[in-house]
Amino acid sequence: MVRFLGLGLLLLGLLLFPLAVELPYPQHVMILIFLYAMMGLAWNIIGGYAGQVSLGDATYFGIGAYTTAILLRELNLSPWVGMALGALNAVVVSLVLGYPCFRVRGHYFAIATIALNEIVATIFTNWDFVGGAVGIYVPILPESFVNLQFHRSKAPYYYIALGMLILVILLNLWLSRSRLGYYFRAIRADQDAARALGIDITRYKLIAYALTAAITSLGGSFYAMYVLYIDPTSVFAFSISLLVVLVAVLGGVGTVAGPILGSVILISLSEGTRVLLGGTGRALDVAIYGLLVMAISVLQPQGLVAWFRALRQPKAREVKVGRAPS
């Protein structure tokens, strides 16, 4: 009961936030937090549940951004349609790239995803139709929900990002309880054992990867409509691939709360240090950010969720006594 009350209060707080805080910058920080929480949760599916460390998610972020921007520019298609087609596009690409790549494991797979991202980025940089290195200025449309453009206030972007995040949370929750999620985790635990149990591991890895790609591309589409300018160096950046992983790792891999918590902390840290110290021009902000990241990883290597769990462990133990081990 208390739990639901807390949930309701939080949701109410989040809904009221743009009304209480009208300044765009705090809203922008919240939007970034939602965006990266969402993409962290997306990465969580392939990296957390299925245990395949992908370091190339920016590929799908970029595909989503470009598909949406190009369809809008060339065919005047609503960004919402662009978003859906972008996700479809990302799924197709993820299957094509994933199929061969899932033959390799562990670090070889991680490096392969980086390599693929670099290849895709280079193709876009040299492809005139998509604007090459110059990138694309997204056409400015009248403000409306259908156009997914809002010029006077950030609040609509805020609510859309929040809505997308909630959907992705629900998807993750469902996954963690479903048969599919069970297969994913079996693959993570031991690929060979999973195969022996009759799980078609390539198939399930591909499903996980496609889900990750689709959600990440939604993030990219949103970014394109939010920033209204995209170019290969900003949407195919390795830093994006890395950040979605870091967000999940910081919070706790394979949990639903982890990426959300991770996003809150990492984004506030990097934005906060930049705003407070970035103007000095001596890179102090980034240095402090780096130090904090190291500190967290050494002090709390299992992720913050594990830490919270440990805090409550005495209580948890009591409960366990009365139950059969699960």
């Binding site: 390799v104 070889y108 490096i111 670099e118 280079t122 891999v253 980034v286 050494v298």
Partner: protein, 287 residues
Amino acid sequence: MTAELLIQVVVSGLLIGFVFALISVGLTLIFGVMDIVNFAHGEFLMLAMFTAFWLYALFGVDPLFSVLACGPLLFLVGVLTHKLLIKHILNAPMLAQIFCTFGLSVFLKSLAQFLWGPNFRSVTEPLLGGRIELFGVFFGLPQVTAALGAVAATGAVYLLIYRTELGRALQATSEDRQTAALMGIDTEKMFTLAWGIGAGCVGVAGALLAMFYYIYPEVGTIFALTSYVVVALGGFGSVTGALVGGLIIGLVQVVSGFFSPAFKMVVVYLVYLAVILIRPQGLFGRW
């Protein structure tokens, strides 16, 4: 394309390939023993290059000699990294280690900017400057020196790993740390050594590279990605693999750069992908 041009391109590719190899040997060593991809590897290289630069600028020591300082100094940096950071997360998931070395990389990069500013530096007149000409093919003397240094250093590491008692202990630790510990190997010492030697290799590479490359806080990033690909291509943990991988990548990069400069890195990555599809464990990897 004339024969001369072809030879020139191949020679250039091999020269840069040796440098890639030396940078990657350190990375593969740390990986092999620790099972950790060190994301701060490029920044180690940057630190070594700055050390070589300052020794040159302040005391007039040529990078050729500061190899003797950069190697040990980076050895120390590697040991410290292990003692202060990695040691505490040995049993944590591999991802926590990625997270940690990423933080280290960001920190070192910005520390360099904080201390030395964002400007480009370079060793303007290395002892072995200039170039030599052989049958119409040009060799940059610093590049040749760096390549020879890389061969020597890689050779030394190879002998250390495969021909000494210590090396065998390192190998055993990388095969299976539990069993190695049961056999009486001090694994903690091996881990420290792996970080020390791995970083030391990069120290040597940095000093050699300083002879002909510009130096600034972001310089590590340029080499880091290539060295990950080299290590993966050769097989994680294999010194031979790093050497061969470095040469292949150097050669591929320069040759494809001649025909299609914009796509030269694409060709490099395609070669990597092609290799791992045929051999999922890399050229010389064990698994």
